[in-house]
């Protein structure tokens, strides 16, 4: 044979060339993540988390869920004891009205009821990564300023600013030095009977009828009832009035417990009283504060609830206060503050 076939050598050639090609391919493929590294910089992540958090805070009303009764609502601000039931802490008054925040939720959010920072990470950030954060809410006119978290760091952090409106709670003031109030809710001319009762009626159907931005929401807002200058209602010789108790009624049914309970306060002449302090002498002023959550489990959206003040009359201690005051925004004695512009800032790092 004159010629030796060299096919085998060609095949080694091919093997070497193909190996080099594969190595090049592997090296080239290895460069791809490096090219994309610029896409996942930390600031963008922080900015995204800040934006997401601001949406939960400004546009979401939050969520509260009771595993035992399997009932949930957006009124998480009323929870005082079982904090695990608060699943999400949005500050909005309604999911239909973004950027209108509830004063009750703001106070609950920035209160000491929640442990910083873990409770907030679970309920606002929803992330495996333990972000540090700073949340600030300040009224444009300086009426309030709330802070949560540490100061922002020197290095990189993500942040966002939102313009919001804050809805404040309503309150009723019955000043008996005002002749109209005296005529309507007291009868000083006649001698008082053994007891005097005065009630404040809250018709939930009427109160909840307007848009959530302008309604009185007894479930989510503080309700304050001030009775001032009660001495005007006393009959001649009396020096004080004698408050027996304050109770909540639905129709004719008493809804326990006696006020003040965990979600309500009673102030007599400016001094806070507990149930043990009752009955008590009232010289001039009486204030009842019903915190958000007071009506949870006691009333429904269509209830009419009456807050009944019972005074015992005796010689030297009496009052002629009487009748029923209807707590409604159209009544001149009830003040409903306008929505207040504020700015919400969230920083995350």
């Amino acid at each position: 044979m004159a010629r030796i076939n060299d096919d085998a050598l060609m095949s080694i050639d091919f093997l070497a060339g193909f190996t080099i090609f594969l190595l090049s391919l592997i090296v080239a493929a290895g460069m791809v993540p490096g090219m994309l590294a610029g896409l996942q910089s930390a600031t963008i992540d922080y900015d995204g988390v800040a934006y997401r958090t601001s949406v939960i805070l400004a546009e979401d009303p939050g969520w509260w869920f009771n595993d035992v009764t399997m009932s949930g609502s957006s009124h998480w601000e009323g929870e005082r004891t079982a904090m695990d039931r608060v699943e999400r802490m949005g500050l909005g008054i309604s999911k239909r009205l973004p950027n209108i925040l509830s004063e009750g939720k703001i106070e609950a959010f920035f209160s000491t009821a929640y442990a910083y920072p873990d409770d907030y990470r679970d309920r606002v950030f929803f992330s495996e990564i333990p972000y540090s954060f700073n949340i600030t809410l300040k009224a444009d006119d300086g009426a309030f300023a709330y802070h949560l978290g540490d100061g922002t760091p020197e290095g990189e952090y993500g942040s966002i600013r939102r313009a919001v409106l804050v809805k404040n709670a309503s309150e009723a003031t019955l000043d008996f030095s005002n002749g109209n109030v005296l005529n309507a809710y007291a009868d000083p001319a006649t001698a008082p009977g053994a007891t005097s009762t005065f009630s404040v009626s809250l018709n939930f159907t009427d109160l909840l009828a307007p848009s959530p931005a302008y309604q009185v929401d007894p479930f989510g807002e503080r309700i304050t009832i001030r009775i001032e200058n009660l001495q005007e209602t006393r009959n001649s010789t009396a020096a004080t009035a004698f408050l027996e108790n304050v109770r909540l009624y639905r129709g004719a049914t008493w809804v326990p417990p006696v006020l003040p309970d965990a979600n309500s306060y009673l102030f007599v002449d400016g001094v806070q009283k507990s149930t043990a302090d009752l009955p008590a002498d009232v010289a001039e002023n009486l204030t009842v504060v019903l915190e958000p959550g007071f009506f949870t489990g006691k009333a429904s959206e269509t209830s009419t609830m009456d807050l009944k003040f019972t005074f015992a009359n005796s010689y030297g201690k009496n009052t002629n206060i009487t009748g029923m005051f209807n707590y409604t925004t159209s009544d001149g004695n009830v003040t409903m503050p306008p929505l207040k512009p504020a700015v919400l800032e969230v920083a995350v790092w």
């Binding site: 050639d13 490096g34 963008i44 444009d140 313009a163 919400l344 800032e345």
Partner: protein
């Protein structure tokens, strides 16, 4: 016959491979993929804030009242609009106020059916080179605006106009 052709080919192949590898490495190193996520975060922040401000101005603070945005447009009140928009846009929770600038314009339909865009007010004169974002809101006004400076070709009928605000960081 055994020759060294293959050897030569292999070494050329290795050399060529290194040349290709070096080229690919250089090309890959100098390429950066530009995605919307890179720059649009800051745009998104301005847009969110601008929409918030318009929403706040479009919400009456008390039930049954007219909102400020409608009132400013109805009366062509550019001064109050500039003050309120500027303060809501730049107010911060701490430290000095922000330095965002804006230019507002109004689009309305003329009697001949064409849409005209008229300048409303700006916080500073835009040069055209700003990296601005645009936020808009539709506003219903009861008739031709009444204030000084109202464009003459406004129809005097109830109508929906579009307020367009460009916002940029100074």
């Amino acid at each position: 016959m055994v020759d060294d052709d293959a050897q030569l080919y292999t070494m050329e192949g290795i050399a060529a491979a290194f040349v290709i590898l070096a080229t690919v490495y250089l090309v890959a190193g100098t390429t950066s993929i530009y995605t919307p996520g890179d720059s649009h975060i800051t745009d998104m922040q301005l847009e969110v804030l601008g929409n918030d401000v318009l929403l706040v101005m479009d919400t009456p603070t008390e039930e049954g009242e007219e909102n400020n945005l409608t009132r400013y447009l109805r009366t062509w009140n550019t001064t109050d609009f500039r003050n309120e928009f500027g303060s809501l846009l730049n107010d911060r929770t701490a430290g000095t106020d922000d330095t965002l600038q804006f230019a507002a314009s109004v689009s309305y339909r003329k009697a001949d059916g064409t849409v005209k865009n008229e300048n409303f007010i700006s916080s500073e004169r835009p040069t055209g080179y700003e990296q601005a974002v645009r936020v808009t809101r539709l506003i219903t006004i009861p008739g031709k605006p009444t204030g000084v400076g109202t464009p003459v070709d406004f129809r005097n009928v109830p109508q929906v106009v579009m307020l367009e605000v460009l916002i940029w960081r100074d």
